[in-house]
Subunit: 483 residues, 2 copies
């Protein structure tokens, strides 16, 4: 193919047509390329020459070139020349789709490439998911579930609900959270489609592009783009074994800052904030007027006793926004979460929820009401706690056995996760790839932090004991080359 | 109360404290006010005097004043003086809540005041909802519903699903839309939490702050803030009885523009675009490269025969994004909608959905799969079409009888709505208020347009025939004073 070949033509736009001139020119050039008359690699005439030859303004030609370049048909080189880089009609049809240039136009960021890969690979048959933050599907309470369905037989209809969600469910949640010291009225509860929707609502309702969210380092929040997509900055605050180091949170008069914390069975480190630290953090934030969003996703997944109550329980003024969910305890597929906050906040979030998607499915809300009111949820929680405790013990034994001298970790007192740091520097991306080849899916620590972690988030919630052991064995084999 | 009284004090900040100086000053002033030492209405010393007396910088005082003003404690007057305007401790506790200033900070706009009022009033017991865009709850197919629940008894678990939704449901939707000429693969389908979530995803994925959305005038879209909150401009394109006047859509090289259209049983006018107009619109948009979002929410609610197929059915290149939902045909509470588009679009929307809320409830997705695959959905649709046709006939008779010479309207061939214009100018807001007093909830036309409409969106879908007649009778009584 002669790359120096220049495209020639004898054609001018039809000035009597209703089709705009620039559009006619684009159509003409596309057709020339599609038909093969103009080959890939050949040079287009200069913009000046094109304008003169077609009898149009330079600005019209600029519009044409911009559009063809945006569609990936032509490319400008550093010398100012323009070259055809694509010709297949299939390409013109698909990639030149009208939507082509729109796909990434919006403000919402794509997931990290690593997270996209994890989301995709999770559906690989047989892959061992060693970092997945979900309950093992075999722990789904089939018998209780069937019982709960009976409650659906007699529901009157499934029309739109109030902005804050099914009243009966809000009452059931008020009763439920009382068990761990949170006092609220049904008007202070908003049902969301999982906690994720609660975060999404916060990002567009009460935070703005110049807001700062302080949060633990590492944090689950880093693995999402919700806040970042709204232009909100995340700032990492270090943790010790008692939780976030509150005195490291910067004090300033800048008013649009909040603290997002996940104090109990923290994702991904497994740390539970001590009572002493909770009190100090609460006071520090009150004095410095830093509003708190407390994520209680793993609140009730303690293994021995519930020695830490939520920070929200100290809050007399409605200054803490508390997030709850059943995604980690019962089923993420129900898409049921809740926000507990003061009424102005609930009303604002509810109003926006009504405009976005009307929130959670009524079916899910009725089922969850039944689960809570019948005592089935409490019964199920007890089983899950016992099961997770066994799995944690097993996981700790297995990791000590196969990776003992190569890693350091704390034994979590609840939740799903072991934050496993490698004692020697390990190339995490390489490790991820090798593990996938060996049929093991990992959650590298770096997706939860803005600094290198040299750690993995290990989850004992998803795999059976045998599969967990198998996965750790394979991991230990891969690690050998670096240790 | 002596408004000229000036606050005096003998106090200085503690420079050895860890609490920032400005925070100490705010606390001091708040306490003075709370204790009654400084009264509401009294003047604070000038900022200069305060700074000197407290031994701090002017900028520190500015910070203090800004914060107290933001919390509604003080107010500056036009002469530069500062006055205490609030003192109750209750206020300090609730309205001075840490979150107070955050409530409306976010980018997402509040609903129109009118829509907020409608959303609230809908839950008034006994109110007759003459404009509600929902099916009458008594039409909920209780028997079919119970049958569909059987399918839930044996689902394996309810964990997170793939980004695009339950595979079985996507296959069922592919089969279903084939009936009206849309050819798609399961990979070209995304399940959303209602069509509203689809719009929300479009607003943050493929449109940006400088995008323009062309749409019918009037349009349901105006009653939402989804696009406007993302900084996207809506531009109204007039309609005639055949639908949107496509040649009125501006042509420009500006690439970030789309057309949103609801061609079949349009909300709120009830107009169905003619086949001739569909073809012309499709060609106009193809030539001018205006991507189309086609909302098919009322697609299957035709009364006589389905004489118009979706515009999407002409689309060979994946250039049209098609939105479907069961909210208007079966149940809005299921929160099931779908997007049919080319794979790059589906992947992009799915990726963001995973970050926002993971989408629709799995329970709802399994139920809907059963409804579609068993033929129950088709059966239910037939019943709803017959019922709506009867209700439309009845509604037309009732309106003619009670409001005959005072209004003009077209008889819709499907859907839920009659767009009822008053022949004389009526003050719609006043009408809305009087109607509420008379126990009738209206949807004034102006919430669907940026120009005055002098119309109401009347819906025959929600009220029984008797209630509909009662509501129209009351409306006709209220109208009398203006006609």
């Amino acid at each position: 193919m002669n790359k120096k070949q220049t495209c020639t033509f004898e054609w001018v736009p039809d000035r009597s047509s209703k089709i705009p001139i620039y559009r006619q020119i684009i159509h003409f050039i596309s057709t020339q390329i599609q038909s093969g008359a103009w080959e890939v690699g050949s040079q287009l005439p200069s913009q000046r020459d094109l304008a003169a030859k077609l009898g149009v303004n330079r600005s019209t030609i600029t519009t044409v070139m911009d559009e063809l370049a945006a569609d990936g048909i032509i490319e400008s080189n550093f010398k100012g020349g323009t070259r055809i880089i694509s010709n297949t009609w299939a390409l013109l049809l698909s990639e030149m789709s009208i939507w082509n240039r729109y796909v990434n136009l919006g403000s919402f960021k794509s997931n990290h490439a690593m997270i996209q890969a994890i989301n995709r690979l999770e559906f690989t048959p047989g892959i061992l998911r060693l970092g997945t933050g979900e309950l093992d599907p075999t722990l789904f309470p089939t018998e209780l579930w069937k019982k709960s369905l009976k409650s659906l037989e007699n529901i009157p209809s499934l029309n739109y609900l109030e902005a804050s969600g099914l009243y009966q469910l809000r009452c059931a949640i008020v009763n439920h959270v009382k068990k761990f010291g949170i006092i609220a009225t049904p008007d202070q509860v908003l049902i969301t489609s999982g906690s994720l929707q609660a975060l999404q609502l916060l990002s567009v309702c009460i935070l703005s592009a110049d807001s700062v969210v302080y949060t633990e380092a590492p944090t689950y929040l880093r693995s999402l783009q919700i806040f970042q997509s709204a232009g909100i900055r995340l700032e990492s605050i270090p943790m010790d074994e008692e939780g976030i180091l509150h005195h490291r949170i910067p004090i300033s008069a800048k008013s649009t800052k909040i603290l997002y914390t996940n104090p109990t069975n923290h994702n991904p480190t497994g740390i539970t904030m001590s009572n002493r630290r909770r009190k100090a953090l609460f006071e520090y934030c009150a004095v410095n007027r830093i509003p708190i969003v407390e994520d209680g996703a793993y609140e009730e997944l303690y293994f021995d006793e519930q020695s830490q109550l939520p920070i929200k329980q100290m809050d007399q003024n409605g200054d803490i926004i508390y997030l709850g969910t059943v995604s980690k305890t019962l089923s993420p597929g129900l898409r049921i979460g809740w926000v507990i906050a003061s009424e102005p906040i609930i009303n604002r979030l509810g109003d926006v929820k009504m405009q976005m998607d009307y929130g959670a499915s009524s079916v899910s809300q009725w089922i969850m009401t039944e689960f809570l009111n019948s005592g089935m949820y409490e019964l199920h929680l007890e089983r899950i706690r016992a099961e997770m405790k066994n799995r944690r013990d097993h996981a700790v034994r297995v990791i000590r056995q196969y990776l003992g001298d190569q890693v350091s970790f704390r034994t979590p007192a609840g939740g799903f996760y072991i934050w496993m740091r490698f004692n020697k520097k390990i190339p995490l991306l390489k490790l991820f790839e090798e593990a996938v080849k060996a049929g093991v899916l990992l959650n590298p620590g770096d997706i939860y932090d803005d600094a290198p972690t040299n750690a993995l988030r290990i989850s004992y919630s998803y795999l059976s004991g045998r599969d967990f052991e198998e996965a750790v064995m394979r991991l230990s084999d891969i690690i050998k080359k670096w240790t």
